[in-house]
């Protein structure tokens, strides 16, 4: 019998007003796993992450983190429990410097391996540019800063939304190369991606979302490309 799951999403429905974005989505993350959620634009990937992080609340279903429900908790309390989200589009705080963005990521004072010094070791370029306004960084550096900001909260579970969005492939590879260090420090990851190949390389387990429903999931090595294409495009 495997150990109790870190995160259990049980049959959640999520809505934007009258529009239903998720239909009975379930997902399980075990400690130390890297989960990838793939799917086309509008499949509900970001909605799923926002709901786990507490920015949105499901109408039905339940979310358990570390065995206790976080379904209706506001985002700041979910963060204090150990779930951090790297939001889509980076969304650094423009009126803060790079270092201030990282410091505010650490203001929850959760204990753990990540400190300002350690995230600068992971992303040395941020240390060089610590005094700059956050938006003076290049896109790739902004993405690094957004990941570093989330790490500063010492998350047990790190949710990454579309890390590769708008970045050059070489930069994306560079960022994904740091992911094993993050996992080695004890965090589990849920990564949302449109880039399927990138997603398959990084993950232990893949979920494929299609129009708000889980169309396919399984260990990354066991899914055929044909099955993934079918689930991705719904053909």
């Amino acid at each position: 019998m495997p150990d109790a799951p870190l995160l259990e999403v049980k049959a959640i429905d999520a809505f934007y007003g009258d529009f239903q974005a998720l239909f009975g989505v379930s997902l399980t993350v075990h400690s130390g796993q890297v989960i990838t959620v793939i799917g086309a634009n509008g499949a509900g990937k970001s909605t799923l992450l926002k709901t786990i992080a507490g920015l949105m609340h499901p109408h039905h279903g339940e979310i358990l983190f570390g065995g206790s429900p976080t379904t209706q908790l506001p985002a700041f309390e979910v963060l204090h429990r150990g779930v951090a989200l790297v939001p889509e589009g980076r969304r650094l705080f423009p009126s803060l410097t790079v270092e201030e963005n990282l410091l505010i990521g650490g203001q929850s004072r959760r204990p753990g391996p990540w400190t300002l010094g350690r995230v600068y070791e992971l992303f040395p370029v941020l240390a060089e540019r610590r005094e700059l306004p956050a938006l003076a960084l290049s896109g790739g550096q902004q993405q690094m800063a957004a990941i570093a900001r989330a790490l500063m909260a010492n998350p047990v579970l790190l949710l990454c939304d579309e890390i590769s969005l708008g970045l050059a492939p070489v930069v994306v590879r560079d960022i994904y190369a740091r992911m094993p260090h993050i996992v080695a420090e004890g965090a589990s990851l849920v990564i949302v991606e449109q880039d399927i190949m990138q997603a398959l390389r990084a993950a232990n387990h893949v979920y494929c979302l299609q129009e708000g429903r889980i169309a396919l999931h399984g260990p990354a090595g066991e899914l055929t490309r044909e099955a993934i294409s079918a689930a991705y495009f719904g053909v």
């Binding site: 700041f76 963060l79 951090a84 705080f93 201030e100 505010i104 203001q107 900001r149 989330a150």
Partner: protein
């Protein structure tokens, strides 16, 4: 020498206007809330100071030790209990609610204290002056008021750019939902900002009440002076707000010298001139 005196008095009263404006600017900066009741809260602070000075038989400046924390608590409670519920994508609800609050405070004060004019008595310090140079005299109290205004502006500036709380204020102002994602309880941050704003309001209220008569109806005019100082100085810049207050104070002093009826008009005209020529204010910090 005569005109130098006039301008100096205008500069010193500008400090008071900057105090009116600082709390207003802080609230707008952090949560995009235009607090229509700001002027009435200044008057409320003046009445609370009046009760404290009478009950404890202390000087108005000493009463600040009690009035400042009390107003801060009122600010925190007001934000948590009422104003947080009005915040959202729509700017109208907070405007309407603070407008209603303004009316409630005015009428509440009228009911409790009548429409009689009151004044806080600070004793001999009110009329003490010293000679700066041949023919130029400075009042001790206006000077204290001006120095306190500079202290408040410098303090707020330091808090905003040098402390963890200021960082949280700026982050929340930038992006509320991401602020939550880094673990900030934005409702609490907003309430702290309102507490800070009303702490400044308390100081402004006491200096206002020592300087001149006050009654329950004078709040809205103080709100206008505050707004004008913020707009002249440029939104989002604390030192700009001080300059805005001084420009307004000097304009009023010169206007009053030309004709007593022109005091307020001159201030408004300068405000309109700045708005027409440089709508972003003299030292804008917030763009867009």
């Amino acid at each position: 020498m005569h005109w130098l005196n006039i301008i100096l008095q205008g500069v010193l009263i500008g400090g008071l206007y900057a105090m009116f404006a600082a709390g207003l600017s802080l609230i707008f900066g952090v949560m995009r809330l235009v607090n229509i009741a700001h002027g009435d809260l200044i008057v409320l602070a003046a009445y609370i100071a009046l009760m404290v000075t009478q009950a404890l038989d202390v000087s108005p400046l000493t009463s600040l030790l009690l009035v400042v924390p009390l107003m801060a608590v009122i600010g925190y409670t007001l934000q948590r209990g009422l104003l947080n519920r009005t915040l959202g994508d729509d700017l109208l609800p907070p405007l309407l609610v603070t407008f209603g609050l303004s009316i409630i405070i005015q009428n509440g004060l009228l009911e409790l204290f009548t429409a009689d004019s009151r004044k806080l008595q600070a004793g001999p310090i009110e009329v003490q002056t010293f000679q700066l140079m041949q023919g130029v005299w400075i009042g001790i109290l206006p000077l204290i008021q001006f120095v306190v205004a500079i202290g408040i502006i410098a303090g707020l500036e330091t808090l905003f750019y040098r402390t963890a709380l200021g960082r949280a204020f700026r982050a929340t102002s930038d992006d509320q939902s991401v602020a939550q994602l880094v673990g900030l309880d934005t409702r609490h941050i907003f309430a702290l900002a309102m507490a800070l704003s009303l702490a400044v309001v308390a100081i402004a209220g006491v200096f206002l009440a020592v300087r001149a008569n006050f009654d329950p109806a004078i709040g809205p005019a103080r709100l206008i002076f505050g707004f004008e100082a913020v707009v002249i100085g440029g939104l989002g810049s604390m030192w700009g707000t001080l300059v805005g207050g001084i420009v307004l104070g000097v304009a009023q002093a010169i206007g009053a010298q030309i004709d007593p009826g022109w005091q307020l008009l001159a201030g408004h005209l300068v405000f309109l001139a700045v708005l027409a020529v440089r709508p972003q204010g003299l030292f804008p910090k917030v763009s867009g």
